[in-house]
Amino acid sequence: MDQNIIKKCLAASKEMRKDVIRMTYNAGNNGAHVGGALSMIEIMAALYLGVMKFNIQNPTDEARDRFILSKGHGVMAQYAALKQIGMITDDELMTFKKNETFLYAHPSMNPEKGIEFSSGSLGQGLSLGVGTALALKRKGNETSGVFVLLGDGECNEGSVWEAAMSASHYKLSNLTVIIDENRLQYDGPTDDILSIEPLVYKWNSFGWDAVSVDGHSVEQLLEALSVKKDKPYAVIARTVKGKGVSFMENNPYWHNGRLSQQQYEQAMAEVTA
């Protein structure tokens, strides 16, 4: 594996965590979906800095890979990744959740800024991914991949499994799902709210190849996401909600939380260390 790419992803992950904390603090009393953004940082870094093809000079280039954020509430991590690749500026990042921003608390379709679809209503992104993957095949685009990031809590939604069935039925080898398996949803642990495990077994049984990796290991993510499959492929990324900030980790309060100045300073110190 290319050590430079690993280094780039690790460095970017660190910056992205800081940016997510800054955005959360900047959002003020409204707070932000910080826990689920912090759990998907390495996934975003691996995709944007290691795996996906894109052209920031031509964001709608047909040859690009398509990324669909189905767990739209985690979008701070995507915005931070888009800053890392130069699609959005730090000034723009700091408009997050402010009136008249284009950086909504859930992504709003903006192809010129690399946001393929609007999302936020859970359970819809994989259908978009299936449609996109079918359309790419129909166009004869054999080189672009489609990557869809789902939350594990999101897998409660029945439409996810409708889409999963259709992906394997149509043998969509150009479609990869990453599940941010942080094991917490709004009301508490996924095992307490609506048991969704075992995820690898479930995706396998829906006709997908599936693998479980440490979702905070850039190496494992890069390795898993570089494998070519002949059917749709699910990478179950085991993660920690609130990863990197001691008082947020595994604490459901930080699904959507606001930071006091003291908490902000502590969080920044921890993710900078």
């Binding site: 819809q124 259908s127 978009l128 449609g131 129909r138 409708e162 889409a163």
Partner: protein
């Protein structure tokens, strides 16, 4: 190219709106090479068996999973295709309502969603399969063009027209096989432009879908009673043809007729459009009342709901008498 000859029109009417849609679909690839059709286990019901034989690779069956179908259609639209997607109107509008809102409304992706058997035509299947909420749902979501053809010839026209609209469209199909014809020969169809089928000064009837035919029957009966009726075919419910609605203000009574609930449908759209006007006649809203009825066959249900020509005429006479 498809020919609007009297014999073709008669054939489409025999097939009903689903069959007419399916035959019109055969013309779509010639109009737009980017057309694909998605269905949720309703290939045959949508009249698409010939399409499937002619263009097997353009037809995607998504199984009994309407929410996913709308999302998949959104993916196709985003990548530059022109996806039609078919299911029962009841499921198009309500089971997949959030997907319709997000993908068609919010993102304005150019899905052409076809709602089959809207209204009462499959009434024997019960309220699960009847659809008299779909106009209300689709009309309430921004950015969606809502088409409601009057008969099978217009179903063909509307299908071809939908393919040429860049944005999202909901195509509402009403009626059964042997659907009565409003149009016997070719005519000009323009999205957003209502068609005045009969002129008259006392009463202005604005109808949509199958109720256009029944309203023409009513107008004939009313003429025998000395009441002169204008009958307007409002085939596009959104955007509403304001010129046609305003023209109706000259009558003593406006009547809206639809095979849809009186809450949120064409009647509501007309009423909302006129709400700010100082001079407007009263409006009689004819449609399904606010309840779910007993399952029964189509003619029986039309009669139960007072949607036949004779019943429409009677209601109009009663309203006119009350007014005087």
């Amino acid at each position: 190219m498809i020919d609007f000859t009297p014999s073709n029109i008669r054939m489409w009417s025999r097939l009903g709106s689903c069959g007419a849609f399916g035959l019109a679909a055969l013309e779509l690839p010639a109009i737009d090479d980017k057309v694909v059709i998605l269905t949720s286990d309703l290939t045959f019901f949508s009249g698409l068996e010939r399409f499937k034989s002619a263009f097997p690779d353009r037809l995607y069956n998504l199984g009994i999973a309407e929410q996913n179908m709308v999302g998949v259609a959104a993916g196709f639209a985003k990548e530059g295709f022109t996806p039609f997607a078919t299911t029962y109107a009841a499921f198009a509008s309500l089971r997949s309502a959030d997907q319709v809102k997000v993908n068609m409304g919010y993102m304005k992706l150019g899905i052409k969603l076809v709602g089959l058997t809207a209204g009462l035509s499959v009434g024997i299947l019960g309220a699960t399969h009847m659809s008299f909420e779909d106009i209300a749902v689709m009309r309430a979501i921004p950015n969606i063009v809502v088409l409601s053809p009057a008969d099978c010839a217009e179903t063909v026209k509307a299908t071809l027209a939908a393919a040429k609209i860049k944005g999202p469209v909901y195509l509402r199909l009403t009626g059964a096989m042997n659907n009565p014809s409003v149009y016997k020969e070719d005519y000009a169809f323009e999205v957003g432009k209502a068609v005045t089928l009969r002129d008259g000064s006392d009463v202005a009837v604005i109808a949509t879908g199958t109720m256009v035919y029944h309203s023409l029957q009513a107008a004939e009966l009313l003429a025998q009673q000395g009441v002169s009726c204008r009958v307007v075919n409002m085939h596009t419910i959104k955007p509403l043809d304001m010129e046609a609605v305003n023209a109706a203000r000259g009558a003593k009574l406006i009547v809206t007729v639809e095979e849809h609930g009186v809450i949120g449908g064409l009647g509501s759209a007309v009423s909302e459009a006129l709400a700010g006007q100082a001079h407007r006649p009263p409006q009689l809203m004819i449609g399904m009342s606010d309840c779910y009825c007993h399952a029964a066959d189509y003619p029986y249900l039309l009669e139960q709901y007072g949607l036949t020509g004779k019943q429409i005429a009677e209601k109009v006479l009663i309203s006119l008498e009350r007014k005087q």
